[in-house]
């Protein structure tokens, strides 16, 4: 039995038909073509599929698509307004990521944190990204960049 749902994806209203058992992650990736949320474990352990649901980070592999009817979903593609966020620019400047597979999820977790806590400490950042597994970096380069981004505006980095 198909359901017609409508939700806001990165600022744009997207009506779509889904099955009752379709998970949000698969709908985003295969039906809507938004590929930044990654498939890492499909059981909520790794955080690679993180998206913001009404501004709060959720694991999209654990959310049924029908649950987001009428809600607002943001992926990393949707967080740029006038170019990259300061966090993204600092992550580039400090070469914090390695393989980058976890990056979209961690960037969203950091964006959510800063939205709620504009001057987070390193401990706050560690707590905020503790649901996002990274096997490459040892985490600290990411934590340092997020803290640096809110303390000092980046001197260079990618442009819009």
């Amino acid at each position: 039995m198909r359901h017609e749902i409508t939700f806001t994806l990165n600022g744009e209203s997207r009506p779509i038909d889904v099955e009752p058992n379709d998970v949000l992650l698969d709908v985003l990736r295969t039906k809507l073509g938004v590929k930044s949320p990654k498939i890492g474990c499909e059981r909520g352990d790794c955080g690679s599929c993180t998206v913001l649901l009404d501004g709060e980070s959720v694991r999209s592999c654990l959310v049924l698509a029908v649950e987001v009817d009428g809600h607002d979903i943001t992926t990393v593609e949707g967080i740029e307004h006038d170019g990259l966020t300061a966090v993204q620019e600092m992550l580039i400047e400090q070469s914090s990521f390695q393989c980058g597979f976890c990056a979209p999820g961690i960037v969203l977790a950091a964006v959510e944190l800063i939205e709620n806590n504009p001057q987070p400490t390193a401990a706050d950042v560690r707590e905020a990204i503790s649901g996002n597994l990274c096997r490459c970096t040892g985490y600290e380069p990411i934590v340092e960049a997020v803290v640096a981004a809110v303390r000092t505006p980046p001197t260079s980095g990618g442009s819009a």
């Binding site: 990654k38 059981r43 993204q88 390695q98 597979f101 096997r135 490459c136 600290e140």
Partner: protein, 778 residues
């Protein structure tokens, strides 16, 4: 000259791709509505004969396109030994092995249909431990072992489970032990581990109507994959020219995406549904049990030394739980068997490294390639031996540390290294010799120290190549086939080309491989890529620079040898006013007074192969060859807090000093240190694989196999870069990727012993194990 681009903290050239979501991984590529999806039928038994496969129920499910079995693909494959099967043939050898596959219109249908394939088995006795597997009368995992093709440096023992036995003999160990004042012997055990790259393995393959097979893989090894696909699928009429492997960004490798594992299934399936792309993506569970696992090890170690602290002899027997297929893992065994002395000058050496088949998932390459495993026992043992001699463990290591020109276990001589500097700087950074306390009365603080070394394990002729071209705006494309697995390879290659050409790395594009468009690279493994491919890129850039000079010489008449590059311009020693921007002529050439032109598009090519290596040696002693190109060495130390009530441990400080020859990009090297230390600490503090008595992996997920989160990091990590140049490396560089996790386990074991007096000889050293050991010790 102006700014140098080598040795600087250039931001990663792939940074923007990765933080913006632009980076595409295999699973992100679009193949349109015709894409088919595959699911495999897996063995529920560790060892069984396949009596019958009935796919009729699966084939009847709407949406199922095709079911294939081993009958469709009766082919073997393997990197160093052809012992692995595309699909199981007459028997299965581990729980989870692929027996058949369903191709369907939809992944859910494929999974449902795979569950409907009915396979009848006759169970066979399984061997799950290398010790009984080695004993006479053990069930044989591979009765046909004696017939498998393999590289000449493997010595399989047909009719047994010994797939390879590397023997290294130097001097006279009996005399060495007789001359020792103290001889210490013990056994150390290391379980299996999982790589846990966050991106699972995925393959998409399509054989088009014209017969061309294109395979997109999450891989460290595009060219090796093409080679193994061509070899395995040769009976179908496919050769290298018919196969194209494309590898976009990879979400972590750590050795787990080296060689070929599940990708062979995708390549084979594509030939069964010609004209359609078919995708196979491993679940997290499959990622754990059907790619490669780090092999388990039981190591018996005996080391003797005289009262003055000189090591006189070492005997090391390494018994590896190599799993059901060892086509790659046997080379891990081989590498350890050549180097299991560690970075010490030891006159009398006997090493036996045995690759034992078991009915557990295939072992294979994992960051450290055998060295992480044997260093646990070796570096635990060195501290214990020093303690018995009454010599400070750091001083003991200074006394015995290997030096340039020393004879290696197999006879060749040691390369230059900054090992002593690494020892001194590490000891200073952890305030070695000074006791530290905790304010908490239940917490004791211990310090641990360990050395490490590792050489790339490669065929003697493993090689790299590079193409380089200029564009109209003076920017450059460098084409290489090494893989960006996170280490910063693309950036390092850009920096090397930048240094030669005076073009900033931000104007140099280096993309991920495509075997049709980027030149040969053996594999991105062994921590050799900066060294090997860096040499190829350097050669290509030098060739391009020579062509630039040729054009300027012929068009403008400047003397050979007077031209140089600076700030993206050609300049001249003898004419300070001459400064010709590269963008003005690297495509168009230079115009002469008569209106004719000289030059044309500037390109360069380069390759590199070490020409001094050889795998030929005496099978009984390993003497006579030159199997390794060089060793990267270093030291590491830890300050560890242990709660003696709970066993809970917290790393107060971790220090690692590594001699990288030359850090092409110090920020990338520090990234390897910070990340590698945590991956190493995880193997000692948190992780291990648990199997039940039937050979089934009990913890194939991140709930039960805990890898560190951002809350599990050391309070402080101090990376120390030492630079004693590698004579044949690009700008003196040698490899560093794997080394940073090697010393983590023994340094923790030594710190636990320092704090509590407990010597734990089995990994992991979890809080639970420490707490129970403390209780027993009371």
């Amino acid at each position: 000259m102006t700014d140098s681009y080598v040795g600087t903290r250039e931001p990663r050239i792939d940074g923007l791709d990765k933080v913006s979501g632009a980076a595409e991984f295999v699973d992100d590529l679009d193949f349109g509505p015709d894409l088919l999806h595959a699911a495999v039928v897996e063995s529920p038994h560790a060892h069984a004969r396949i009596l019958d496969i009935d796919a009729s129920a699966a084939e009847a499910i709407p949406g199922v396109v095709r079911v294939v079995t081993g009958r469709d693909f009766p082919y073997t494959f393997g990197l160093y030994m052809k012992d692995r099967y595309v699909f199981a043939q007459d028997r299965v050898r581990f729980v989870g092995e692929q027996v058949a596959a369903v191709i369907a219109r939809d992944p859910k249908i494929a999974r449902r249909a795979a569950a409907a394939v009915n396979v009848t088995y006759e169970e066979l006795p399984a061997v799950l431990d290398p010790k009984p597997a080695r004993a006479d009368g053990s069930p044989l995992v591979h009765p046909d072992l004696g017939d498998y093709p393999h590289v000449p440096w493997f010595f399989p023992h047909g009719g047994t489970n010994v797939a390879h036995w590397r023997k290294t003999r130097k001097g006279d160990v009996d005399a060495g032990f007789a001359a020792a004042d103290v001889v210490l012997e013990d056994t150390y055990t290391v379980p299996r581990y999982a790589h846990c790259a966050i991106e699972p393995h995925v393959v998409v393959a399509k054989q088009n109507q014209a017969g061309r097979l294109t395979v997109w893989t999450a891989s460290q090894s595009p060219y090796i994959q093409r080679d193994l696909f061509a070899e395995a699928l040769q009976p179908l009429g496919l050769s290298h020219q018919d196969i194209r492997v494309i590898t976009p960004y990879v979400g972590g490798g750590f050795g787990g995406k080296a060689g070929v594992t599940m990708e062979i299934i995708g390549a084979a399936l594509a030939t069964a549904v010609k004209g359609h792309a078919v995708k196979l993506r491993w679940t997290r569970e499959q990622e754990f049990y059907n790619t490669y696992q780090r092999q388990g090890l039981r190591a018996r170690l005996k080391v003797g030394a005289t009262k003055d602290g000189t090591i006189t002899a070492l005997e090391h027997e390494l018994l590896w739980d190599a799993g059901a297929y060892v086509e790659y893992g046997a080379n891990v065994v081989n590498a350890a068997g050549l180097s299991a002395t560690g970075p010490y000058r030891i006159p009398n050496v006997s090493i036996d490294s045995l690759c034992i088949y078991t009915n557990l998932p295939p072992g294979g390459p994992y960051r450290g390639f055998g060295y992480s495993e044997f260093h646990f026992g070796l570096e635990s043992h060195m501290t214990r031996l020093a303690d018995e001699l009454g010599i400070d463990p750091v001083e003991f290591r200074r006394i015995n540390a290997i030096r340039e020109g020393d004879e290696l276990p197999y006879g060749a001589s040691m390369n230059p290294s900054g090992l002593r500097e690494a020892i001194d700087q590490t000891a200073a950074a952890i305030n070695w010799g000074e006791e530290e306390q905790s304010a908490d009365p239940h917490v004791r603080v211990g310090k641990g120290f360990a050395l490490f070394w590792k050489a790339p394990a490669m065929p003697p002729n493993a090689s790299s190549a590079s193409f380089l071209k200029f564009n109209e705006d003076g920017s450059v494309n460098v084409a290489v086939s090494g893989m960006e697995i996170g280490q910063g390879y693309l950036t390092a290659m850009a920096q090397i080309a930048a240094e030669v050409l005076s073009v900033p790395p931000s104007k140099i594009r280096v993309e991920t491989p495509d075997t049709d468009r980027t030149p040969y690279e053996w594999q991105t493994v062994a921590s050799h890529i900066t060294w090997s491919c860096g040499n190829a890129v350097h050669a290509a850039a030098v060739e391009a620079r020579e062509r630039i000079f040729d054009v300027v010489h012929s068009a403008r008449g400047y003397e050979d040898g007077s031209l140089y590059l600076e700030d993206e311009k050609v300049k001249c020693d003898t004419d300070p006013d001459f400064a010709l921007p590269l963008r003005d002529f690297v495509i168009t050439g230079l115009e002469m007074e008569d209106g004719t032109w000289r030059g044309g598009p500037i390109v360069g090519s380069g390759n590199f192969m070490p020409e001094f290596t050889s795998a030929h040696s005496d099978p009984e002693t390993s003497q006579g060859g030159h199997p390794n190109v060089h060793y990267t060495v270093g030291a590491a130390g830890v300050v560890l807090e242990i709660d003696v009530e709970t066993g809970k441990m917290k790393v107060r400080k971790a220090v690692l000093a590594v001699d990288v020859g030359k850090a092409i990009n110090p920020a990338m090297v520090e990234g390897q240190i910070t990340g590698g230390i945590l991956q190493g600490l995880a193997t000692v503090l948190y992780e291990d694989m648990r199997f039940d008595e039937s050979g089934r992996l009990l913890n194939p997920n991140f709930t039960d196999y805990k890898i560190p989160t951002s809350l599990d990091t050391p309070a402080e990590v101090i990376p120390i870069i030492i630079e004693v140049p590698q004579p044949d490396g690009p700008f003196g560089a040698r490899g560093v990727g794997e080394h940073t996790m090697i010393p983590a386990a023994p340094m923790v074991a030594n710190a636990v012993a320092d704090a509590t007096g407990l010597r734990i000889t089995s990994m992991p050293i979890t809080a639970e194990k420490v707490a129970l050991s403390l209780l027993e010790a009371v």
